[in-house]
Subunit: 381 residues, 2 copies
């Protein structure tokens, strides 16, 4: 189904591809202008939808993950949020019909810069229209309608996905009961913009970038590796690395003695993880998804953050932040929680003291699971 649309796709084994069928003849209109004539969304699901279609949970991902959030009978490999989703887990698939989608603009099956434009027969590349978090949320809404779900029990997301879950709540206030936003923000701050902007520029400085018109097999991998290393530096926290690596050196026999080669374990760790990443992500998708986080600003929905947040009509929201997050610092989750409270939305605001920085939600099962489990179990019954 629609394989030809995804010329540059790392679609995971179990992902279902669905073409959004309710778009008008103008296709999907993008928030910053332009349109997509067709949109295919890759998703995975766990659990069963009730006959009343009232138990759906939609998960929005961060920048890099696919729809494979958890293992399933179709794909037993661990998902990126394996600890969180499953029978009797915090997002309990005995109770909920859980859907995770690959974001619009991504490269794991959903329409993105690597897809073919059906109107030209060519890859979109950098002719893909400007992408916003709101567009990601909008395609999530369309996906759920395709699956027979008009109203979500909960929208859940972390990092970029947390922004998308909030955008969903603002844009579709009548279609959402509960909101969970983890390590998210009402708008990007300059330090986060600077770090992401630099990652994108590093990729574009790779001669293989070729203005985004690189061919399959000739991707700007060197630039991607450097950008990923900078990403990793921003996702984690200093003290975690102090205890994990300290000043350990790589084994003596691997040292060349040359001043610029890998010497410390931390350098080796970054190299290993960067190499693992670059063969599974499209450089153009990276540009678009990274940029949409910089642009995200709830104040665009009514003139101020409070005005935007006031549009949210959920029964209750859960806002989680992490003490050591430098990319989406605690003050940003406080802002979200305060703004919800100020507009009379009930909110649980939890600050998790984890050494794992922005990535904590991927790692810190012990602290995250009870918080999410409690919130969701209180949301029905």
């Amino acid at each position: 189904m629609a394989d030809e649309e995804n010329a540059y796709s790392f679609t995971t084994r179990a992902s279902q591809l669905i073409k959004l069928s309710r778009l008008g003849k103008n296709g999907f209109p993008m928030r910053r202008g332009g349109r997509l004539p067709e949109v295919t969304v890759a998703y995975e699901s766990w659990g069963e939808l009730t006959p009343g279609a009232d138990n759906a949970v939609l998960i929005f991902t961060g920048l890099s993950p696919s729809a494979h959030a958890a293992s399933s009978s179709e794909d037993s490999s661990p998902g990126w949020w394996e600890y969180m989703i499953g029978p009797d887990k915090a997002i309990d698939t005995n109770r909920f019909f859980v859907v995770c989608m690959n974001s619009l603009g991504g490269c794991y099956g959903t329409t993105g810069p690597g897809s073919l434009n059906p109107e030209t027969g060519n890859k979109y590349g950098v002719d893909f229209p400007n992408l916003t978090v709101e567009d990601i949320a909008g395609t999530g809404h369309e996906l759920m309608r395709e699956l027979g779900v008009e109203n979500l029990h909960a929208a859940v997301g972390s990092s970029m996905g947390g922004m998308a879950s909030i955008a969903y709540a603002i844009q579709f206030p009548q279609n959402l009961e509960y909101l969970i936003a983890i390590s998210a923000a009402a708008q990007a701050l300059p330090l986060s913009i600077a770090i992401r902007s630099l990652q994108r520029e590093i990729i574009r400085s790779d001669p293989a970038w070729k203005d985004g018109r690189y061919k399959t097999g000739e991707e700007p991998l060197a630039g991607m590796a450097l950008a990923r290393k900078l990403g990793l530096v921003s996702y984690r926290a200093a003290d975690e690395w102090n205890s994990k690596f300290d000043r350990s050196k790589i084994p003596e026999e691997k040292l060349t003695g040359k001043p610029f080669e890998i010497d410390f374990e931390i350098e080796s760790y970054l190299e290993y993880n960067a190499q693992k990443f670059i063969h599974s992500f499209d450089a153009n998708s990276y540009q678009y998804l990274s940029r949409c986080m910089d642009w995200f600003d709830i104040a665009e929905h009514g003139g101020s953050v409070d005005a935007g947040m006031a549009k949210i009509k959920v029964k209750k929201a859960l806002i989680i932040g992490v003490t050591t997050d430098i990319l989406f610092p605690l003050r940003q989750q406080r802002e979200l929680a305060d703004s919800l409270s100020a507009t009379n939305t009930e909110v649980d605001h939890v600050e998790i003291d984890s050494p794992n920085g922005h990535d904590a939600f991927l790692i810190d099962d012990r602290q995250f699971s009870p918080v999410v489990a409690k919130f969701l179990s209180e949301s029905y019954g």
Copy 2:
């Protein structure tokens, strides 16, 4: 004097060049092996040396500054530490003979990778031997002997220069009375190593790098610009940028509407500062100086940080850290101060609450000047 030795040099107007004359026929032996047949040091000085040569203060710089720390009759342009050095200023040139040197390995006149190797007639480039902070301190000691100073009243340094001032105190305990180390550390932590390692790799990924054998006029400027931006991100602090830039956009008429071009003021600020930097710094010097900070480890002087610090015999030390420094965090200055106290060296330990991050010592006159002035004025009398 020795112009031919500094083929790649941005020597500032007032810098004096002096060839170290007391080196034996083997030249200057480098700590990690290899040697320099000759060493020229660029320095500037302010104030007068007493007949007893007992009022000398030597300033070691961070990675990028030249010896031009303050203005003078020879060069009236402001120096990089203009607020700190001068008549009646914190480092009082009415009282002290103040010397600032361009570091060994640098590109402002002192022998470095851009200099000609007198034994081959070619630029050192990446054949320059491995450089350590201790080598920088050692050439500082030789410089002062050339100037007729056997014993320093004080060694002062910030960032890499703070490491060098500590290295001086450890290596020449009989030749130093007072030590000032600002935003320094006993050893580099993995996050700082990661950030610097990535900057160096970004430069080496520029095709113009050519394994360090680039020609004058064909330097890897694109890589240098990206590395400098990453440096700037690490030198400053999030809240400073929040108040300075927030989410301000560049003027509408400069917006192209293309998704990857400069949009936010923070991006424009980084671009401006990077472009300013790249035409005044040598890429090979950047590699060597950056790497020597990663390698610095006081534990190499006796088996542990405490054992290394125990070699210091100053009358008193001043250790300053800044609350918002992510590159040399407060815990590292606490470690220095605790270690000095534990070995019975009197120490003033000051934590400055400044929004300016690692760069605070360059900016925060109001908070730094009184602390340094008090320490130095109590050091004589």
